[in-house]
Symmetry: C2
Subunit: 662 residues, 2 copies
């Protein structure tokens, strides 16, 4: 049946969830049972289907042989790396021309998921009349050419489609990754890539490398603490400052190299340097829709079309600038005073109980505020008509980070700059680092567990209520698929439809990085705290992904995207804040004076440097129409390249082409 | 004979120069005349050959029908843009698949020159025995498999191979470009590209756009001079400063867009964003040698090979850093004191005559110094084993610019910062701008003309001496090819083998840009001077290229390369110098004081910002082995893509492939 029979082990990878049916199943005649119809259709597609009754839900597990996926991949014209190193549209006939994954499978998890999705939502009613369906006593019609899954979702029958964990691989990963405590930062990145896809693997590669590199400033910080440099003591902090900034600059440069190396190893086409760094063509998720759109718009270098393209580009850019201005202004005008008020109140209140109450109120309000901010940002982004989902996600990340940046650092800035008291600043830093990170780690692992327990309890209660008396003994959630369904999804705390849980993890990292870098001179020991925290973080995040959450939906982004720019911004910020800290430290008596004229000129200088290095990003270097025609060209080239594909896949297929086939 | 007969006009494009033969031609028997053999060989290659006797030299003019060039292009596997927008190795059979130039010719001037070069130096002795040749009484042997032209060069018989002007096109360009004074900055860029190749066309496009954009700050500068802003006068300069810097930042961003647009229009593959921006593969000049080298080194992701690659990369980088350090240190330790000494002596000397003498001595020494510096830099670069010629040229440009930077600005800095006298600074600026630019323009146009006249005079004298009495009347240089030979080459003043005359032209532009930007606040009117100068520059440079010099050898570089980074560096410098100028201006009485501690911290801040934005360039983002394997893959893909080419070039050829051909 398949050429790859020998190395193919069927694994159920996708689950569909339906509510539990009552006993009144055998109802109206002339109506087909929806589940039966669905299962038939799925089997027609060549999928392996297993129905599993749970306590409170019913489940359908799906597994696909490689042929079924290959057919969809060819339909979708997914671009895959071929043996000659070029990305070409997949064709099942020429399967030998395509590079396989490190574990021998033809498709990456990202591609498989994409195929599954297309397969499932591609089930339409091909007959000319509507089909009457029923489920649990509810009757409805499946119109011609309507996707069955959409209809079932609309009727509230299909509750969820989610990817399933692969138990064998999961257990292997648990052993080699989550519980592999011996080497602090070692991780099986390639296995993570195979199991979770590019984006998550890139996150863990970054986290590991960051933690390894952090050992250097951590050691430096500890040395500063222990050793007395005698008469050179006054030079110590500036030297440390210079070392830290250089360290950060080099780290991110080397990270980019690492990123390139990883993508080369995984044989992914990319453009890390230019733009946010996704695959321009050959993108897994929207490989097909993109080029067609371009082709429609841009035809044979028509000047008019080109102008329209340029107008579109500038309009979109203006909209984006307007949105950014709205976000920045509202953060400065609304959030900043609020945060300052809290910080100030906290300082002047004497009683501990009132302080506690104030903090509680503050936390409540800030939660609410963040949620509103996230909603507004997401709405604004919808205006920006960016076609690519990952670009939209990046845009959201920038806006939300602004929010969190204010939230996290304003209090610390307040201490640092207004009070000019290094000791209280150090206290605040330790407090923040320990509280926020230890508690957050606990919270992000325990909260989903409690949610899971509660859901399990509810499922058991449901079962008990419905089975009243008929069942004996203890009711338990036994099927693995139901257990996974009850686990919470790996989702972002805000902006859920564009980002997944990686947003929170990256946010945590970025805020930590800002905290340790921006106040490095005030408290060099923070780096050591960060190292310990990150070593913990690697394993707890691994555990979270493998055990606590559902298997996340794989994403195709090939770099850390917006976060790289945020880290770079934090480095520049930390140059400025540390200078201010040094001034505070060396000028303890407040004797230094700056003429207002000189101060103004220095301010102008900083603004201009910001313009030089920041604003040039506003205008993209490559005009939209050039990029469009390039992408169109590349796509066009690949469309006519079937012959090329045949020549790659080898002689056997070449022969077949010469003979008439039909 | 040719499919393109109808639109093909034969133009003699290359000339070979030989010394004039005496009358003792008919000498030894058994020796063939070298010129006759060469002409036979050239005719065998399908070239059109015309022998022209000059006054002091003999010339061979060559023209190639497109078939002859096409054959070489296929031999060289030159990568050309096909109709589907992909670059593929040229094949003569599939000529229809390839995009033509705007004027209908198949090859660009750059490609044609490359083919000519390969054709000429590919003439070897294919017989098994050496051929005895003679020229002007000199006998020598042409060994088997030895290129004939190399042997002739060695024997001193072939004096030069140079590209000829195309008189029709030249006249057209003279009218539409060099003498087109009506619209100040308009230039027929596409025609320039067709006639001179990419690099020169890009220079003129840049010069035109730069001059157009300069109109804005020039107008602003004039307004500042005329209008009195009353009580807001103290704000005028800072606002002007901010406008100028923003202007510069936006200009270069828009220039990059323009560059992309031009390359898209000329259908050139490129990577402007990453690296210095040459075509990575499909490069005209070394398309073949590159990939082979890679293939040899890097085989199937071998870890050992990868490490060797990485070691090579870092070794090369360390060497480059060492060389840069040598150059920077020698500039600071040797040139800086010298320049300062001159500036100081010039200030303290009272007598005008001594001043004049001092300047003369200075100019003499500095000429010598620059020449030595250029030689050392060129030698250093030879160590750096950069394989690409254009990268080497860039490396030279950086080093030489350091030299010229010190030379040009140190005197001005001395005035500006030590004397704190704005009026004398303004005087110095005007002096420099007018003197350097007007005189330089005159010099660079008149000097080659005088050289040409002198050479013509010598040729006539030579003729007269040899013809003693036999000729009657006035002797004149009549043949066009001899006139062109007597013209000087478009060569750089230093570093001749890596750069051509564009180095001087770009240097002039960059030094002007630095002058007007770095001292903008001291004298806003300079921008107006620069505009006038640049409008002149466009036409005089055009005239220079078309009339005064030989036609330059075309270069394939697709961007302004190293100069872009130099301009960016000058923007950052000008932020700092203008701030210093503002301090001088506003603090005329020297009342403002800066605590040494604060000054130190500010210095640290600036150093760190430099590290952040400058040093990250030292480490390339893409590891060498990734790049190598990518290039290898792409090349490999194109090597197996003959089928693809057939499918592009259309049905006719497809049919031909099915039938057995031989």
């Amino acid at each position: 049946m398949s050429v790859f029979k020998e190395d193919e082990v069927l694994v159920y990878e996708i689950a569909l969830v339906f509510p539990k049916r009552g006993d009144k199943n055998e109802g109206n005649q002339g109506f087909n049972d929806a589940i039966c119809v669905l299962v038939d259709e799925l089997k027609k597609l060549g999928l392996f289907v297993e129905e599993i009754p749970g306590l409170a839900h019913e489940f359908i597990k799906l597994a696909a042989p490689v042929e079924a996926l290959g057919k969809v991949a060819a339909d979708l014209q997914i671009r895959k790396r071929t043996n000659i190193g070029m990305d070409l549209a997949f064709e099942w006939d020429q399967v030998k021309a395509f590079v396989r994954q490190a574990d021998g499978s033809l498709f990456s998890w990202c591609e498989r998921y994409h195929c599954y999705h297309h397969l499932l939502y591609g089930i339409v009613n091909t007959s000319k009349t509507a089909v009457s369906l029923q489920y649990d006593g509810k009757n409805f019609c499946w119109e011609p050419w309507e996707p069955l899954l959409r209809r079932l979702e609309l009727e509230g029958i299909l509750k969820q489609v989610f990817p399933l964990h692969d138990e064998t691989k999961k257990k292997k990963l648990l052993k080699s990754w989550a519980f592999h405590w011996l080497d602090f930062t070692a991780q099986p990145i390639d296995d993570i890539y195979l199991y979770f896809g590019t984006k998550i693997a890139i996150y863990f590669a970054f986290l590991g490398m960051y933690t390894r590199w952090l050992l250097f400033p951590a050691a430096l910080g500890i040395i500063l603490r222990i050793v007395d440099f005698g008469s050179l003591q006054f030079l110590v902090l500036p030297v440390f400052f210079i070392c830290i900034i250089s360290w950060a600059v080099f780290f991110f440069q080397f990270w980019k190299r690492k990123n390139y190396a990883l993508l080369a190893r995984w044989k992914i086409s990319y453009t890390v340097g230019t733009g946010p760094g996704y695959k321009i063509f050959g993108m897994d998720m929207n490989s097909r829709q993109h080029p067609l759109e371009f082709e429609k718009k841009l035809e044979s270098n028509n000047v008019k079309e080109k102008e329209a393209y340029q107008r579109d580009e500038w309009l979109g850019r203006l909209k984006r600038i307007r949105n950014d201005a709205i976000v920045v202004l509202s953060i400065i005008c609304l959030q900043l005073p609020f945060e300052l008020a809290y910080a100030h109140l906290y300082e002047i209140i004497g009683s501990d109980i009132v302080k506690f109450g104030l903090t509680a109120v503050y936390l409540l309000i800030i939660q609410y505020f963040t949620r509103i901010g996230g909603k507004i940002s997401a709405d604004l982004i919808k205006n920006e008509n960016i076609e690519n989902k990952e670009y939209r996600a990046d845009s959201l990340v920038y806006k939300l980070f602004g929010l969190y940046f204010m939230q996290t650092y304003i209090g610390v800035f307040y201490h640092a700059l207004l009070h000019r008291n290094i000791l209280t600043l150090q206290k605040v830093l330790i407090q923040r680092l320990i509280v926020s990170e230890v508690f957050e780690n606990l919270l992000e692992n325990s909260l989903p567990y409690f949610k899971y327990s509660y859901k399990k309890f509810r499922a058991v209660r449901y079962k008990k209520q419905h089975d009243k008396g008929s069942s004996t003994g203890k009711v338990k959630v036994t099927s693995r698929v139901e257990k996974e369904y009850l686990k919470s999804a790996y989702a972002a705390s805000i902006g859920g439809d564009l980002e997944d849980g990686l947003f929170d993890d990256f946010l945590e990292l970025a805020l930590q990085f800002g905290m340790i870098m921006m106040f490095a001179c005030a408290f060099p020991l923070t780096f050591a705290f960060a190292v310990i925290n990150n070593i913990m973080e690697i394993r707890t995040d691994a555990l979270k992904l493998l055990v606590i959450h559902k298997r996340p939906v794989p994403r195709a982004a090939a770099t850390i995207g917006a976060w790289l720019n945020i880290f770079q911004f934090l480095i520049v910020m930390s140059i400025c804040t540390n200078c201010a800290l040094l001034v505070c430290l060396y000028d303890a008596e407040g004797k230094w004076k700056l003429e207002p004229g000189l101060a103004a000129i220095l301010a102008i200088e900083h603004i201009l440097l910001l313009i030089k290095f920041g604003f040039s990003r506003i205008i993209p270097e490559e005009p939209a129409w050039v990029r469009a025609s390039r992408v169109k060209n590349a796509t066009h080239a690949q469309d006519v390249s079937r012959e090329l594909l045949r020549s790659i896949s080898g002689g056997e297929n070449k022969m077949r082409n010469v003979e008439p086939k039909e």
